[in-house]
């Protein structure tokens, strides 16, 4: 009965997943800011995962010093998807600071593309627009429903897009249509990222943004294929980290036994 934890210290949220014998037994999410180190400790404490082996991933992965090991988010994400959706061939993750498209096979990375240079096409873009439009993320689904026609919003640059949205608002366009345009823009950007590696079905989408059905729909439209979302899309990377941690512990035990 070994317990292990995966800690995904992201730019916006820190996620912790605790596993025991190949099952997830607890998970928590806490805000990463203002201090990622504090957030890491808090997540572990609230998860009840203090004192057990921890493998870290995410932007702030090097900040938690008592870790067993660290891996990049891409590797952890692939491992996590291999666990929660083993049939997936492509994973799309829209995170707070970046977005990634990873081609996977049995929990391993085959190829990946990521956008980490520009806020367009990331969760940050949605955050900015949600603020400008005064529509909180939780209300996205109610506002950007199927009947609404999107207005075109540029996808090249968050700053340009923001002034564009302000312009559309002041021209008294309905916020619902603007929001739909924003979602189309973000997902269009992610879809073009996907073309770098080739999007192969089945496609799974992860990251906190996937709690919104409107985002998932826009993504699936942009990619031109259906997109499946696992039960806890925000925790997939942390789950992958926990799995890799379990594997590492097992390997260490085996090595010690020799």
């Amino acid at each position: 009965m070994t317990r292990v934890a995966g800690l995904d210290i992201g730019s916006t949220a820190t996620k912790c997943v605790m596993m025991e014998d190949g099952r997830v037994i607890a998970s928590v999410v806490v805000p990463s800011m203002p201090d990622m180190r504090v957030a890491a400790e808090r997540a572990l404490r609230e998860c009840g995962a203090e004192g057990i082996p921890v493998l870290t991933t995410g932007y702030g992965r090097a900040l938690y010093e008592a870790r067993l090991a660290q891996v990049s988010e891409i590797t952890a994400l692939a491992a996590g998807v291999g666990f929660v959706a083993p049939v997936a061939a492509t994973v799309v993750d829209i995170g707070g600071q970046d977005s990634k498209v990873v081609r996977v096979e049995a929990g391993k990375v085959v190829d990946f593309a990521m956008n980490d240079r520009c806020a367009a096409g990331t969760g940050r873009f949605l955050e900015v627009m949600s603020r400008v439009l005064h529509i909180p993320f939780e209300e996205f689904d109610a506002v950007a429903c199927d009947e609404v026609e999107p207005l075109p919003v540029t996808s090249t640059c968050t700053v340009f897009a923001e002034s564009e949205v302000v312009g559309l608002l002041s021209a008294r366009h309905p916020p619902a249509r603007i929001l739909k345009g924003v979602l189309t823009s973000v997902c269009g950007r992610v879809a073009s990222l996907g073309r770098q590696v080739g999007v192969k079905a089945p496609v799974v989408a992860t990251g906190g943004t996937m709690y919104s059905q409107a985002v998932v729909r826009a993504l699936s439209n942009a990619l031109g294929v259906p997109v499946a979302v696992p039960a806890a899309p925000q925790f997939v990377t942390a789950t992958g980290a926990a799995l890799l941690c379990a594997r590492r512990v097992a390997a260490d035990v085996a090595a010690a036994a020799v």
């Binding site: 891996v71 990049s72 990375v109 990946f112 593309a113 990521m114």
Partner: protein, 399 residues
């Protein structure tokens, strides 16, 4: 990590070259500024001392002077989107600041368009600044290999250039003199090729991080005896390491090849990152551009025409796919890095297509990283790490 003894030697060699350029020009030897892809053998045979602005820009970048110099050029109205080697070198001309002490002004400038169009304008601007003649070599772009007509066309220009440099203060370039220089070039190129080829050994005794640094003499001194003795010593040292099984990175776990110029502003940091993940950078398309075959001392004009038309940047993407795929196989690599170099459009165009094609030809995994060879404002180490670490992990390497 055992350092190469040649690192010291390189410094001395470069210093001596700088001193020789200065001294030579003082005693009346004419100076020619040339591009990295121009037939330097001709100006050498005419008794000129060559100077390489591109190489100079790389030295400025490696010494951390590039941003300052680039800004000088930008202040004159040149766009930041232009090649950073251009901006750095011209910035040095404007400000007079250079790690070499001072620049020795040209008597003539020789430019060829086999590497890009930017360099053509860069050297034209430079010729205007110094008010000296500009000799221009036009090399037709290759679909596959240079045709007979291409070679004849370039050869004719070379003969003309030889006559011009003689008229502009040099000696007469006889076939005999030219053959001797060509032979010396060939010897150095062969030694350099030998050095690079040893990275195919496991573990690699020498990596492209070393090659990027030790390429300086092959670029700027080929055709001279000192260049040959430099590479003979380097070859011997690398051979020694190879025989002793000395690895360039500790405990090599993965091998990758590189496309495009080095990222000078973070060269050392990047080298460390590779070491930390036990990844050997075993080959690259850049330093190996100076390993051309078919440089023949018989009929040197024709041979030079062929070789200088056939260089990698004068080819399209299909050729790059071939070169990279061969390299992946030859060096037994499982991955390759494509540096999308903001400065060098000619080198960076079409890399996503190249990535897919090389992957399907070789089964190796590719990654594209965005940076710039010399402008630190367009380089983010954080970004490079973000891309390279998952790439390394995919290849089975870990930190």
């Amino acid at each position: 990590m055992i350092k190469l003894r040649a690192n010291k030697r390189l410094q001395t060699t470069i210093r001596n070259q700088v001193l020789w350029t200065r001294f030579g020009s003082k005693i009346g030897r004419p100076v020619a500024w040339v591009t990295s892809g121009s037939p330097v053998e001709i100006v050498l045979a005419a008794g000129f001392i060559p100077f390489y602005p591109e190489n100079h820009a790389a030295i400025c970048a490696a010494r951390g002077m590039s941003q300052d110099l680039a800004e000088q050029t930008e202040a004159e109205g040149y766009s930041r989107d232009l090649c950073s080697y251009f901006r750095v070198d011209v910035g040095s001309q404007i400000s007079g600041r250079t790690p070499l002490g001072h620049l020795v002004p040209p008597d003539v400038i020789l430019v060829s368009n086999n590497i890009c169009g930017t360099v053509q304008n860069w050297f034209r601007v430079t010729a205007e600044r110094f008010n000296v003649p500009l000799l221009f070599l036009d090399t037709p772009f290759n679909d596959a290999a240079p045709t007979e007509a291409d070679v004849a066309y370039v050869r004719e220009q070379l003969v003309h250039i030889a006559a011009e440099v003689a008229r502009l203060g040099g000696r007469r370039v006889t076939e005999d003199r030219l053959s001797k220089v060509v032979l010396r070039s060939r010897d150095a190129l062969e030694l350099w090729a030998e050095v690079l080829a040893m990275a195919a050994e496991r573990p690699a005794p020498f990596t492209s991080f070393d090659a990027f640094v030790h390429m300086a003499p092959i670029v700027s001194m080929r055709g001279t005896r000192r260049c040959i003795s430099y590479y003979r010593a380097l070859r011997d040292e690398v051979r020694e390491r190879m025989k002793a099984g000395i690895s360039s990175v500790p405990d090599e776990r993965a091998r990758v090849v590189w496309d495009n110029i080095a990222i000078w502003p973070v060269h050392k940091q990047l080298k460390k990152l590779f070491e930390q993940y036990h990844v050997s950078l075993v080959g690259d398309t850049y330093t190996s551009a100076w390993t051309v075959e078919h440089l023949e001392p018989e009929d040197p004009f024709t041979s030079l025409a062929k070789v200088y038309t056939d260089i990698i940047l004068n080819h399209g993407a299909a050729h790059r796919v071939k070169v990279l795929s061969n390299m992946v196989r030859k060096f037994d690599a499982t991955g390759f890095v494509l540096h999308s170099n903001r400065s060098c459009k000619r080198y960076s165009l079409g890399q996503f297509g190249v990535k897919t094609a090389v992957s399907s030809a070789t089964g190796a995994t590719g990654v594209v990283v965005e940076a710039d060879m010399a402008d630190p404002r367009s380089v983010s180490f954080e970004h490079l790490q973000q891309r390279l670490v998952p790439f390394f992990e995919t290849l089975g390497a870990s930190g």
